[in-house]
């Protein structure tokens, strides 16, 4: 569930309020968006992806809120990691974060081939 909107990183664009599919955040005039309905958070991380200020932290626990250490999160390197790995915005031209999703099918094929050769090896060893 979403745990933090960090004020000193928030640009005030309110993109998170707009893109959250379950309407968890609420716009606050002149202030950072408020986590108004945390229990409705579906832990989809979309708010983080759309946050250009890397100001949002979503904890992976989808069942209950997590106690988080704000200062530790700030220095953890976790903020903005998702947006970076997606190669969005300022990362768009960085070759390390090229979209390689198209390789998914070949990964499944590798797994299948590995399983087949392991099964063959097992049968050989068994005989």
């Amino acid at each position: 569930m979403i745990e933090l909107v960090i004020a000193e990183r928030c640009t005030g664009c309110n993109a998170c309020v707009e893109v959250c599919p379950t309407n968890v955040l609420e716009l606050v005039a002149g202030d950072v968006p408020r986590i108004a309905r945390q229990a409705d958070c579906q832990t989809c991380f979309m708010c983080e992806l759309y946050c250009r200020g890397d100001a949002i932290y979503v904890a992976p626990d989808c069942e209950s809120p997590t106690v988080v250490d704000r200062d530790a999160i700030l220095t953890s390197g976790l903020l903005g990691e998702f947006r970076r790995d997606h190669g969005w915005d300022e990362w768009a031209t960085d070759p390390r974060y090229t979209n390689e999703h198209w390789r998914m099918e070949s990964v499944f094929l590798r797994a299948r081939d590995m399983a087949i050769s392991e099964a063959v090896a097992k049968r050989r060893d068994g005989n």
Binding site: C20, P21, A59, T98
Partner: protein
């Protein structure tokens, strides 16, 4: 809220698309390209809502040349679909998907492989839905975000002519008077915590059924996806390399092939199940973050190295999402059994292409792309002859207009009752007639109470209506599972382990006060028998 709760934004369009995910956006684009004015309403935000945005579908993708490729693909799928699918629909889906994805050039940044060949087949979820949002915006579709539909509007002749709903952020209500409606609200996972599915509560099934629509294939709801416990991360690719362990650390044997649900569920009924991904080749580990960037998020944040550490896993139910059933389609334009109402994506039955086993990501996404466009064009055609007009009747019942005196209904308890019948592995994966009958009784009683008394108001309005939709859907699922008195594809009855030729047919279901089922032989099924 900037508006009074009583205020209604009233709009008119040729076509109203309800939903904002994969099928909905393809539907809106097709209707617009057919010359219709289009309004799209999404419960959340069109571009991030739904199960595509958090995943990444590789579509069913077979080149047209040589022709044998598609013929073989269709023949094989007909076999694995246990004869409930239709070769003509499969051919249409393969053809339209192949033509459609390249048209997203300029909206989606397609990758090229090592040989410089452009890769159209698999699109990453957030970028895909962002592209489709840009597409519908560029075509002049009017999009209302955070505007869930609550009920349909019906003309005196029974045809559907729009919908009403609420504006969660702007405040007040909306009403769209339309010539025709495309229902593309997705399937439902019964809020199982499947990634991205929290807005998918089966609303479209209920709204359509209130207009008289039938459903088909609702017994096929036994697909589950593995995830680390307490997380939503149902991204399956890396689990192709998984090793599973029981509580004593013994390896749980898995059959070869991708179908691990049943052995995992059996193990989970006995105790906790753990997993590591140590078999993953090094080069693939390095690429996981740029293939599926969300997959590693829970591990990184919990300090788990999944390639080394064992972590506990669970199975999240997919309900009708990677299940198969949905609104019955009666025409090539994806019209439902109600005139003016079209269905697309997971809101529609996918038996036509998938048959009795899950279409998985590939077939389901190809179906969403195709059925969306057929539904959009069909709706545009219907609207050209049946223009929008005001004065249609809103027809929502359960949760909106209770049959008796409204009183407080415990939504949490209702939801637990639904989940208690639809998600447990022992009831839903390993089915038996006896347990299904008990589920039907429990759900019928819950429905009777809910239908009689529940009336959502204020902040609880949407949740009340969502609960009604899941409750209705659960009843159709259980009734269909009882009616299919055999085992076939993903529907496995412990008390009826054989596939029975008497059930070489689809099962239709519907009804609200009283749920009914009947057989549908269908054209292709007649030909086959």
């Amino acid at each position: 809220m900037s508006r009074s709760p009583e205020e209604t934004l009233e709009l008119t369009a040729d076509v109203l698309v309800i939903g904002g995910g994969l099928a909905a956006t393809w539907a809106a684009s097709a209707a617009r390209r057919a010359g219709a004015s289009v309004i799209l309403v999404d419960k959340g935000h069109c571009g991030t809502s739904g199960v595509t945005a958090t995943a990444g579908p590789g579509h069913w993708w077979v080149p047209p040349d040589p022709a044998e490729l598609r013929e073989t693909t269709i023949r094989n799928r007909l076999k694995s679909g246990f004869g409930l699918n239709d070769p003509e629909w499969m051919a249409r889906v393969l053809a339209l998907t192949w033509e459609s994805l390249p048209t997203l050039e300029g909206f989606y940044d397609f990758s090229t492989d090592e040989n410089g060949v452009k890769q159209y087949r698999a699109l990453r979820g957030p970028e895909y839905m962002r592209a489709l949002r840009k597409l519908v915006d560029s075509l002049g579709v009017t999009v209302l975000d955070h505007s869930p539909a609550l009920e349909l509007l019906q003309r005196a002749d029974g045809s559907v002519s729009g919908a009403r709903g609420i504006r969660r952020q702007a405040g007040g209500h909306w009403q769209v008077n339309a010539g025709a409606v495309v229902m593309a609200t997705g399937g439902t996972s019964f809020l199982s915590r499947l990634l991205g599915s929290h807005t998918n509560t089966g609303d479209g099934y209920l709204m359509a059924a209130e207009a008289g629509a039938e459903l088909s294939g609702m017994e096929f709801t036994t697909y589950y996806t593995v995830a680390p416990v307490r997380s939503t991360m149902t991204r399956s690719m890396s689990y192709a390399f998984a090793t599973y362990y029981d509580e004593d650390g013994a390896v749980i044997p898995m059959p070869p092939g991708p179908d691990t649900t049943r052995p995992l569920a059996r193990a989970m009924l006995k105790g906790h199940v753990f997993c590591d991904l140590a078999r993953t080749p090094e080069d693939i580990r390095g690429r996981v973050p740029t293939i599926s960037p969300n997959f590693m998020l829970p591990f990184r944040r919990w300090g788990i190295d999944p390639y080394k550490d064992r972590f506990e896993v669970t199975l999240h139910g997919e309900g009708t999402i990677r299940g198969i059933g949905g609104l019955r389609i009666v025409g090539e334009d994806c019209v439902t059994s109600v005139p003016g109402l079209y269905a697309a994506g997971d809101t529609a039955t996918r038996e036509l292409v998938a048959g009795a086993i899950s279409g998985g990501g590939n077939i389901n996404s190809a179906w969403a792309v195709s059925s969306g466009q057929w539904a959009g064009r069909g709706a545009a055609r219907f609207a050209a002859e049946n223009p929008a007009a005001s004065g249609a009747r809103p027809i929502g019942q359960a949760g909106l207009r209770p049959a008796t005196v409204p009183s407080d209904v415990d939504l949490g308890a209702a939801r637990s009752a639904i989940q208690g019948e639809m998600l447990p592995y022992d009831k839903n994966i390993f089915r038996s007639g006896h347990a299904l009958k008990r589920s039907a009784e429990t759900l019928d009683a819950a429905w009777a109470e809910f239908d009689a008394r529940a009336r959502g108001v204020g902040d609880a309005l949407l949740r009340t209506r969502e609960t009604a939709a899941m409750l209705a859907t659960a009843r159709w699922c259980v009734a269909s599972a009882l009616a299919r008195d055999e085992s076939r594809g993903m529907h496995q009855r412990e008390d009826r382990p054989q596939t029975d030729p008497r059930f070489d047919r689809r099962i239709l279901v519907g009804g609200l006060d009283k749920v009914w089922t009947r057989s549908d032989y269908g054209r292709a099924l007649e030909l086959a028998s």
